[in-house]
Symmetry: C2
Subunit: 210 residues, 2 copies
DNA sequence: GTCTATAAGCAGATAGAC
DNA sequence: GTCTATCTGCTTATAGAC
């Protein structure tokens, strides 16, 4: 091995860009059809590549799938942990809803890949979910409990409140096209997301008043 | 054709029972893996049948899939239209949340088949959704608008309120195992659904107060 | 109604040339 | 890194015997 030869540990920038392109297309397809419903061939064909080429970059279909999940999870955790710093209940609710809805809008396909994995019983990602998402939930619940102790919010079932926040915000990613269909438009626009944000924020904040 | 010969229009009771058994297993598997992720073989194998046997009862895989969706849709529409009779806002919210959550609990797999179909862009059921679910949504929104006119509820964005009710209640079907995992139990029990019902009912009703 | 046989194609993955 | 070739197995669906 010479110093000039490219090695596995330090791939060239072009290789990384190509892998990124593949991950984007894989995410798009896994979001729509799930792990079992997507073939390497269909991902490769959409990018004018061969399926063997995909298997050069990842040893197996499952490795590619996990790479997609890792990429989404990384971004999700980054945006979620950033807002757990808020020290004031109303600001916390506002930024929580805003960040989750923005994620639903900007990373809709990534969100859907997760939802599909969870609906399948999380056979390929349960360990990561348990290790990373579960502590986040418990930290959020504990924070609300503390605020309830201090009399700053009404005490309700904060675990189920978190389930409500998660499910109602991520619905704008997973079920977005359906919502748009019922409203008679081709897709949700910024105004729809803003209306959702206002409704959810107010509705949740009201539920925390004495 | 004699009077005693069984014909396609009047299948025997045993045949109907068998078809029902197949529909149940098909629903279970489509719920987990979606249309593309399930093979006729895996459905047949779970019932100790041959895949040819399935193709005797339905002409194709897609026909079987649509039969599953038809069965779920029929039950869903029946339980949903039954509660649009309520003439009082608070009772309407209470029964709406209760019925949707009960459906999530008792028809969890049926619900999941629908969610997956919708997430895939509803390629095989969009016509039915548009014809049946959309009018239901608009009727519900109109009913709330009327109550707002009469000053019986605060005027908010009722369309997005319906999206919230739908997404938060059906999450207990589609994401139930995940919620259970985060709460450290094998599955959601009746008490969890009751806590969800109380929280959602109160939270939504509060949002409609002046 | 259920069986065997078979068609015709696609799946993931590996080997080896270049 | 990318290509062709190939292996093995599974996919939906049809034909026809019983």
């Amino acid at each position: 091995m010479t110093v000039n030869a490219p090695v596995a540990r330090t791939p060239r920038a072009a290789t990384l860009r190509k892998q990124e392109t593949i991950l984007v297309e894989a995410e798009r397809q896994f979001a729509r059809y799930g792990f079992e419903g997507v073939s390497l061939d269909s991902i490769a064909a959409a990018l004018d590549l061969s399926r063997q080429n995909l298997l050069y970059h990842w040893p197996s279909k499952e490795d590619l799938y996990r790479a997609v999940l890792d990429s989404v999870m990384g971004e999700w955790m980054a945006s979620m942990t950033a807002i757990t710093q808020a020290d004031e209940p109303e600001a916390a609710i506002q930024s929580y809803v805003a960040v989750k809805l923005r994620f639903s809008r900007e990373r809709a396909t990534g969100n859907a890949v997760f939802t599909r994995e969870i609906m399948a019983g999380a056979p390929r990602y349960q360990d990561v979910l348990k290790a990373q998402v579960m502590p986040l939930l418990h930290a959020d619940v504990a924070r609300f409990e503390r605020w309830a102790d201090e009399g700053r919010v009404r005490r309700i079932d904060f675990t189920h409140l978190m389930f409500l926040i998660w499910s109602s915000t991520q619905a704008y990613a997973d079920l977005g096209p359906q919502f748009a269909l019922y409203m008679g438009k081709p897709a949700l626009d910024e105004a729809d997301f803003e209306r959702a944000r206002l409704l959810l924020t107010e509705l949740i904040w009201r539920s925390l008043q004495p």
